[in-house]
Amino acid sequence: MPAISVRDLRKTFQMKRKAAGLRGSLRALWRPDYQSVEAVRGLSFEMEDGELLGFIGPNGAGKSTTIKILTGILHPSSGEAAVLGHVPWEQRQALAFQIGSVFGQRPQLWYHLPAVDTFYLFGKIYELDDSSLKRRISFLAEAFEIEELLETPVRKLSLGQRMRCEVAASLLHKPRVLLLDEPSIGLDVVAKQRLRMTIQRMNELEGVGVLLTSHDAGDIETLCRRVIIINHGEIVYRDKVSALKRRYLTVKTVDVRYNEQLAPDFSLPGVEMVKVGRYGAKMRFDTRVTPVEPVISGLAAAGSLADVTVSEPSLEEVISAIYERTEA
């Protein structure tokens, strides 16, 4: 049985529309003008038990809405979903014992208290007995390297430190599925790396399945084997992360520098010139369309070469290409 399965899930928000100014407000009071926003439009996907699944998409794509439906705090307009065998919006409380969630943009630790106080509170809320709770806290403190931070009031922690505590808190009751909505938002490179390593470690150690949204391709690349890309509430791509890269790997970017000045109208057939300078150029071509050899010989023929760099697109670029392609 998959940990999460979603079939034809839809969510339409009714949003009150109101004209500007006082008159608009008054009119909206008498005759509210509703505008519907289709946040999720027929999503179907599955996540295996213990899987690390990337769930990405541009702003407003419907990621958070989907996650809220999966935690049971939002009712879908139609469609089915099962998380660990529960229909989330019907069995929210029962499900709560088995899933953890982190909404990166909202803190859940008590701001004025040390994190350990929230940990003990959660222990009670999840009905853990005291000795297991103690062992669990010390285990998580070690895994997340937060032993020294636990006694400090949360308001005095850095964002990166706080985020590690937040994720640790969501794992206290040893959930089988973790829903992470942008956990790495606002973190620096090092903090991101640390958080990724810990999430990966918890996944290996306890087999907790993770549905991860992020705007950082690096999170997806290091953590997830499989990725689902959505835009405008619909799935536009789903496959292994490696396949995603491979598929676009045929696009090469070439940077050349010459020892002499380049002809201003320098171009090669089948190659897109991104930038042509006086002593160099940047260009892009797809090896499936344009063979490599004539490009290389064309480059050599154009003058005395000083340097050549050939690069493949980063995952980030691949993803933004997909976003753009589906922007219709």
Binding site: F13, S64, K68, T71, G72, I73, L74, H75, R92, Q93, A94, A96, F97, I99, S101, F103, Q105, R106, P107, Q108, W110, H112, L113, D117, T118, Y120, L121, F122, K124, I125, Y126, E127, L128, D129, S132, R135, R136, F139, P153, H173, K174, D181, L205, E206
Partner: protein, 284 residues
């Protein structure tokens, strides 16, 4: 590591024994955490409790002049000392109300309500426990400081029965206020701005609840109206019982509180069920 930790949280690590104990345990923990949280800023807590000193000083000057002008030792059955002790209790109750409606509205508006709905506890009971943790401390502080100052002004407080009866009535009054605040807070699920409701509720308490003046001083028709509305039983009821702890009055106060609690408790419950079903969570 795996072998050592794999079994740390087997299903058996859930609290053993009657399920009720675990349930009470979690709300108790919420209450206690809120209590500790309020203590995080003791100076702030003390500062807020000092507001009652200012109020009592103003009331003292006002009513001393009034009693002096009429020349009577009691008005509508209340001496100056009674009036001051009444007002002290009324203010202590009023000032230690947590603005729960605002808390809930904020949580709904900024989306943090998501974290309260995806935990295994009841949202209303969570706020009940947390609100109690919040109010208890400030009520204690207000009562202590308020009593001190009023004692200096007009002499000793009512006897032990006054404290006892008022204690019971204050507890029920807190529940009644909890119902109103929760209703206003829950309305944030439907309308965007709840400030208007909050403002109206506050004004009703101030004017018809007996916060500024014992309702006994009102003209008869206004008294009748006030006493037939729930607001009087949040403030006036407990405060009046404090200075006149008769069994008859106790019966009247508890009956009124009980009726209004049944009515508004029911409304809260139904509203909550419906609000959660049509829940819209903002942000993210």
């Amino acid at each position: 590591m795996r072998s050592r930790e794999a079994d740390v949280l087997s299903p058996e690590s859930r609290v053993r024994g009657p399920a009720a104990a675990a349930v009470v345990g979690k709300y108790w923990a919420i209450f206690r955490t809120q209590l500790v949280n309020s203590l995080a800023y003791p100076i702030d807590l003390l500062g807020r409790s000092l507001a009652i000193v200012l109020f009592m000083w103003i009331f003292m000057n006002l009513w001393r002049v009034t009693y002096g002008a009429t020349g009577a030792s009691s008005i509508a059955g209340l001496t100056l000392a009674d009036t001051m002790w009444y007002l002290m209790m009324a203010e202590a109750v009023m000032l230690s109300k947590r603005d729960l409606s605002e808390t809930i509205s904020e949580q709904v508006k900024d989306g943090s309500v998501a974290y309260l709905l995806n935990k295994p506890f009841n949202f209303i009971l969570y706020h009940f426990a947390a609100g109690l943790g919040h109010s208890l401390l400030s009520f204690g502080g207000n009562l202590l400081i308020g009593s001190g100052i009023v004692w200096l002004m007009v002499g000793p407080p009512p006897g032990i029965m006054g404290w006892l009866f008022a204690g019971v009535a204050v507890a029920l009054s807190w529940l009644l206020d909890f119902c109103f605040s929760t209703l206003i807070g829950l309305s944030a699920f439907v309308v965007e701005e709840t400030n208007a409701f909050r403002w109206i509720y506050q004004k009703f308490l101030l004017l018809l609840g007996g916060v500024l003046i014992p309702l006994d001083f009102f003209p008869a028709w206004l008294q009748t109206i006030s006493l037939n509305l729930p607001f009087a039983w949040i403030i006036y009821g407990p405060a009046r019982l404090f200075v006149d702890p008769s069994l008859a009055r106790l019966g009247q106060v508890l009956l009124q509180q009980g009726i209004w609690l049944a009515v508004f408790g029911g409304i809260v419950w139904v509203t909550y069920r419906r609000a959660v079903a049509r829940l819209v969570i903002n942000g993210g």
